[in-house]
């Protein structure tokens, strides 16, 4: 993993279906070696963005650079693996056939790793893919993606439709692969709790635009939740960047962006840090707020 280089960069990226823009003015930059959470409500443009990254779609506006080359070219195809939503596999193939499929279509295929991984998961190679459980199918699909030995792995809702145990197992496998190879991972989800502890970079997409993009620790450290008398709220709002503002006639709860350090506050305010879920929700509730880089500095 080389610190400081960019795994994924989009500038002014836009994609429209017929007349509506599924993605608009999307600019972001993700350093290498990160596990990126792409979060947003349904229809926010997550899948569109991921399809642009892996070259399944071509942009109508702007461009996207993956590992230093254009998305979708022969060069990037072999260095990027994609696990699409619903984890498509050829139902009629045996698990061994799926591995052969991977081997025949990828020069860097690691058959040993694939076989070892499936053996450790107790997935028989001669079983037909269509007969496996949902969790096992997800693991086979993930194995096909991992055995390609990608430098960037893109996963679209990898945990959707899985039971809690399977979710844990898939995440465990994914994190172990990251530990081993140092690859960059981008995964989308609309369930934020799945991403706590696994992802270290957050991208919030809302209504086709990038709202937040940054290191999760920095983001958490840079936001605070203030609770205090409603009459003081305007004063604070004037001084600090308020992301979300929730007031009753007496009390105000403000999620503010403080940046580095702690702002001086009237003692009538209580303040505390925020967690990932609170942060994401606050931004999603307020589509006009944005926390965009600060040029993305890689912190190896």
């Amino acid at each position: 993993m080389t610190a400081g280089t960019t795994a994924l960069a989009a500038t002014g990226l836009g994609k429209k279906y017929r007349r509506t823009w599924a993605l608009k003015d999307c600019s972001l930059s993700v350093p290498e070696g990160r596990v990126v959470a792409l979060v947003g409500p349904n229809g926010a443009g997550k899948t569109t963005l991921l399809h642009l990254v892996v070259g399944l779609l071509a942009p109508d506006q702007g461009d996207v650079t993956v590992l230093g080359s254009s998305a979708g070219t022969t060069r990037t195809l072999s260095r990027v693996a994609f696990l699409a939503q619903d984890k498509p596999l050829y139902d009629g193939f045996s698990v061994a056939d799926m591995l052969r499929f991977g081997a025949r279509t990828n020069p860097g295929w690691d058959q040993d790793m694939a076989v070892r991984r499936l053996a450790s998961l107790d997935i028989p190679l001669d079983r037909r893919v269509g007969k496996l459980s949902g969790g096992q199918q997800a693991q086979v699909a993930l194995t096909v993606a991992l055995a390609k030995r990608p430098e960037l792995l893109v996963l679209d809702e990898p945990l959707a439709n899985l039971d809690p145990l399977a979710r844990h197992e898939v995440m465990r496998g994914l994190m172990a692969a990251v530990a081993e190879s140092g690859m960059t991972v981008v995964l989308s989800s609309h369930v934020v709790s799945d991403l706590v502890d696994t992802c270290d970079w957050l991208v919030v997409l809302n209504g086709g635009r990038v709202q937040v993009s940054g290191d999760i620790e920095d983001l958490l450290a840079g936001h605070r939740l203030l609770t205090g008398p409603a009459e003081l709220a305007d004063g604070v709002a004037g001084r600090l960047a308020v992301v979300d503002d929730d007031r009753t006639d007496r009390q105000a709860t403000l999620l503010v962006r403080t940046g580095e350090g702690r702002p001086p506050l009237d003692p009538r305010w209580t303040d505390r840090g925020v967690n990932l879920e609170e942060l994401v929700l606050a931004y999603l509730r307020r589509p006009d707020s944005a926390a965009l880089p600060k040029p993305a500095l890689a912190r190896a």
Binding site: M171, M175, V178, A179, D197, T198, D200, A221, T270, G273
Partner: protein
């Protein structure tokens, strides 16, 4: 070898939980100088967390001089946490007792005190993570 566990509802940053568990094991003598810590991959494979989190925890321990990474071999315990901390404990306990009696005089009941304490602990670990 140490076996990490996570308390996901605690609000304590994951890497700090790892740091605390190593320190705890050092205090209890479960880990001794020369012991190897599990590799990032081993930890990740068990806990399903970001490997960078493990590396960050180990860097923190390394910064405090408790462990040292040997390239290609792993991360090894350098020194133990023992005697010193017992006296430290006693000192901290005394000063905390003083603060609690202060709080009582100010009219706080046990629940108020606990809430306040918990909120300060939470904040201190969230914000000043590098002072842990």
């Amino acid at each position: 070898m140490i076996d990490f566990r996570l308390d996901r509802g605690s609000g304590v940053a994951t890497y700090l939980q790892l740091v605390h568990q190593v320190k705890h094991a050092l205090r209890l003598g479960v880990l001794r100088p020369g012991d190897r810590l599990p590799t990032a991959k081993e930890v990740v494979d068990k806990l399903a967390i970001n490997p960078n989190t493990v590396l960050k925890a180990y860097r923190e321990l390394e910064r405090e001089g408790l462990v040292a990474g040997k390239p290609g071999l792993g991360t090894f315990v350098q020194r133990t946490l023992g005697g010193a901390s017992v006296t430290e404990h006693a000192r901290l306990r005394d000063s905390l007792a003083g603060w609690v009696s202060d709080a009582r005089t100010a009219g706080l009941d046990p629940e108020d005190i606990e809430a306040l304490f918990a909120s300060v602990v939470l904040d201190s670990f969230r914000i000043g993570e590098d002072t842990a």
